[in-house]
């Protein structure tokens, strides 16, 4: 048995997981990321239509959720099959506040992120003692319960009361967008900037103390405890960060679609999210970007090429499968057993 950490092997990276802060490697990486960002920001929109820009906006928003999920799974070893429920919470809070107040949009989104983070931490608290499959199932159950409630509460449409629903459907209102980003193209760029900030936030965590703590927790919680890492705090911190990011994404979704529908938040979406997160790769934050593109752009492409939307299910299933097969084979080669 080698000393290669099982999860690292899964992620395909060498054991020492935390990069130094200002090495040459990270400058190259920063340059690449900056290049990608600039291309996405300025070159991409000029080459394509409003239809695709809207899809890319969805992809960017979902990449935040996927990045958060991937961070939890790949970096901390916490499986959350319930991120879509938190995503819905973020959307709901943003809309409710958006109708009830005149606060600027960034404030709404920030508050949604914070509230979602609080909920995430509260849910993470009792789940601290759960691991692996149990944790995955508990998060799935909790999400399913949330979504039952969401199906009843629905999304606010500008009415009074807690739910904020209007009685006459024709009077229903839709979410406003920030003044700087009223148009679809403008909002796309706005979302890109927020996504970069979110990924930057995650990265900042990863390269500093929390990141190191998480790496040691993922490697072995017992060992981490033994070396004095406060696993409780750091695990909750991870839940908080991931929920915050997801809540922000939810807020972005509210302004993106303007009249969200509860159908976007089905229990199956949690499963599909996990499938694309794994397909995109949980080793790096880029995996979140890939996952976002997969789930937002692939179904549209399939339709364009004449395949019915059901084919995306088959492709996601096959992709997840293939990914699992490959990583299992790698584990085998490395002689590792989880």
């Amino acid at each position: 048995m080698t000393t290669v950490d099982a999860h690292s092997a899964l992620a395909g990276e060498p054991v020492s997981t935390v990069p130094s802060r200002f090495g040459r490697r990270s400058i190259t990486q920063a340059a690449i990321a900056a290049a990608v960002f600039l291309i996405a920001m300025f070159v991409l929109p000029a080459l394509t239509s409003t239809f695709w820009v809207k899809n890319f906006t969805s992809a960017a928003i979902l990449s935040i959720v996927a990045g958060a999920t991937g961070l939890l799974y790949g970096r901390v070893g916490l499986v959350s099959l319930g991120q879509i429920a938190l995503y819905g919470v973020g959307t709901w809070v943003t809309m409710r506040l958006g109708f009830a107040t005149d606060w600027p949009y960034p404030v709404l989104v920030l508050i949604a992120g914070v509230i979602t983070a609080v909920i995430g931490v509260l849910l993470g608290l009792p789940a601290l003692r759960l691991q692996g499959l149990y944790l995955a199932l508990v998060t799935l159950m909790a999400a399913a319960a949330f979504l039952v409630i969401l199906a009843d509460t629905k999304f606010p449409t500008g009415g009074p009361g807690f739910k904020g629903l209007v009685v006459e459907v024709t009077n229903s209102d839709s979410m406003r967008r920030p003044d700087v980003a009223e148009t679809d193209f403008g909002f796309y760029r706005y979302v890109l900037v927020v996504a970069v900030i979110m990924f930057g936030l995650a990265l900042a965590h990863l390269v500093s103390k929390p990141g190191r703590a998480w790496a040691s927790i993922r490697h072995s919680e017992a060992a981490a405890l033994a070396t004095g890492v406060n696993t409780t705090t750091y695990k909750l911190w991870a839940w908080g960060l991931a929920s915050f990011m997801t809540g922000i994404a939810g807020g972005l979704l509210a302004a993106h679609v303007r009249s969200p529908s509860t159908f976007t938040f089905g229990v199956e979406q949690n499963i599909i999210l996990m499938a694309v997160v794994v397909m995109g790769g949980v080793a790096t934050l880029w995996g979140g970007v890939v996952a976002g593109l997969l789930v937002a752009v692939l179904p549209e492409l399939l339709q364009k090429w004449g395949f019915s939307s059901e084919w995306s299910l088959i492709l996601f299933g096959t992709g997840l499968f293939a990914n699992l097969l490959i990583t299992s084979w790698q584990l085998d080669k490395a002689g590792i057993k989880e």
Partner: protein
């Protein structure tokens, strides 16, 4: 493993390139500089580096479809107005009915459909396309074939909005025909108005019946449930009426018509909502029956798969005769009749927005022929009728523009809104568009009941008018009377 990561990123890059490449260049693309976007913070790379996603797209442009009329045109059969699509014997024909393949520049129409597992309206667009196929095999529109481009919004508001933009701005459709979506009317209504499009839809949410540039061939669940409630009360329901539907967004609107009728008739009322897919139908049926009370009325508004769960449960629990059952139009589907037992014969009063599919009339006959030949996978159903009608109405509008017309969006939509009397044996009364603040052109319905032995729905009550209890329908009837439309057409 580097390889796997590279593959994932390669896939991502491929997705982006595929999305960008092969797209029509967008004449109306907004390219203004982002106003006030702050300089982004350092974009620190994540820990490990890979080849970045290549996001350069090849500029691949296609010219929009040319819509000039071709030089040769076919004379229509018979002397009658070709836009009526009737032959000399009075039988309905597809378009010009001359049996010649249309080979000119296509006329493009667009449809936004909701198609997700469990909520799938594609039968409607399939039949509209099928009708166009028939028309194209019969001379087209003076030689121009008609094509329907269908987009699926997957019940995602973002996709619904994107779909409309793509159809109108990228694909260059000249009209919106056969859209059936839970989101299209509310999300895209203002956009269509902006673009000057008058959509011919099969409507679901309230907005489809509340906007100047939307006109539906059907009644929509709100009025259909109301019609069912009228039938239920006529059949002797007493005391209380319970309106039951699902928890889809906007579903409250399904039941408010029933509420208004209950108030008018002095009955108690309760609205109940159940999440779908239903798994515990027995419990739900017991709940519904207990809420309605003995001899009370119940209206159900669910899709066919959910309907049979409830109907089978009612059969199992032996409560079919405890209340008077009514249903909005989705249950008007032969698969429902075939799936339930004889206990339900004559017991479910379904509000049908159209005459039965085996009605003795020229349009109905043509519908059955077109369905069998050009859409054999779609069952004969009211959804099929809706698709057929939207297609036929559109073709009628196009033909009314005359030979050699320019099929631009402006001209085509002017023809559409100018329809004041579209007659069909499928409708109870003539259909119309017209320049009105809102449209509820189909407001007379019939009632059908299941016939399990025959595996179909059979008529129970002939055409009756839906009670005008809300402002839109009150206004509509007034406008009809004033302008000689619908039931008041000569």
């Amino acid at each position: 493993m580097r390889f796997r990561r590279l593959m994932a990123l390669g896939a991502a890059a491929a997705l982006v390139v595929a999305a960008c490449g092969g797209d029509d260049d967008d004449a109306t693309t907004e390219t203004e500089a982002p106003a006030g976007t702050d300089a982004p913070a350092d974009t620190d790379a994540p820990a490990d580096t890979e080849a970045p996603a290549d996001t350069e797209a090849p500029a691949d442009t296609e010219a929009p479809a040319d819509t000039e009329a071709p030089s040769d045109t076919e004379a229509p059969a018979g002397d009658s107005d070709p836009s009526l699509q009737r032959n000399a014997d009075g039988e309905s024909i597809c378009g010009l009915g001359n049996g010649e393949e249309a080979t000119g520049e296509p006329i493009l129409a667009g449809a936004v459909m909701t198609s997700i597992p469990g909520i799938d309206f594609t039968d409607i667009s399939d039949l509209a396309s099928a009708y166009f196929d028939c028309v194209n095999a019969n001379g087209g529109i003076y030689g121009h074939p008609v094509e329907l481009i269908v987009e699926n919004d997957e019940l995602d508001p973002q996709k619904a909005s994107a779909a409309a933009v793509k159809l109108i701005e990228s694909d260059g459709v000249v009209a919106m025909v056969a859209s059936t979506s839970i989101l299209d009317c509310p999300v895209n209504g203002p956009y269509y108005e902006e673009q000057g499009f008058y959509a011919i839809v099969a409507g679901v949410p309230a907005e489809c019946f509340g906007l100047p540039n939307m006109a539906a061939v059907n009644m929509g669940p709100h009025y259909s449930a109301l019609g069912a409630a009228q039938a239920v009360i006529r059949a002797g329901a007493e005391g209380k009426i319970v309106a039951v539907t699902n928890t889809a967004p906007g579903s409250e609107y399904n039941s408010t018509g029933v509420e208004a009728l209950a108030a008018q008739e002095g009955l108690d009322y309760e609205a109940v909502f159940y999440e779908t897919p239903i798994s515990d139908a027995d419990t739900i049926i017991l709940d519904i029956v207990s809420k309605a009370g003995e001899g009370g009325g119940v209206t159900l508004t669910f899709t066919p798969p959910e309907m049979i769960k409830l109907m089978v449960a009612a059969e199992n629990q032996g409560v079919i005769d405890d209340v008077i059952w009514g249903s909005a139009t989705p249950a008007n589907d032969s698969s429902v009749a075939a799936a339930v037992g004889p206990d339900w014969d004559g017991k479910l009063l379904i509000n049908a927005e159209f005459q039965p599919t085996d009605f003795d009339g020229p349009d109905t006959r043509l519908y059955n022929e077109v369905s069998a030949e050009y859409a054999p996978d779609s069952p004969v159903s009211s959804f099929g009728q809706m698709g057929f009608l939207t297609g036929r109405i559109f073709v009628s509008a196009l033909l009314s523009m005359g030979e050699g017309a320019e099929y631009t969006p402006e001209a085509v939509n002017e023809a559409i809104v100018g329809i004041t009397k579209f007659e069909s044996d499928i409708f109870c009364k003539p259909w119309y568009y017209g320049d009105l603040p809102l449209h509820v052109p189909n407001n007379w319905d019939i009632t059908v009941v299941p016939d399990s032995a025959g595996g179909r729905m059979v008529p129970f009550e002939d055409c009756f008018e839906i009670a005008a209890l809300d402002q839109p329908l009150i206004d509509t009837r007034a406008a009809e009377q004033e302008l000689g439309l619908g039931a008041f057409a000569d």
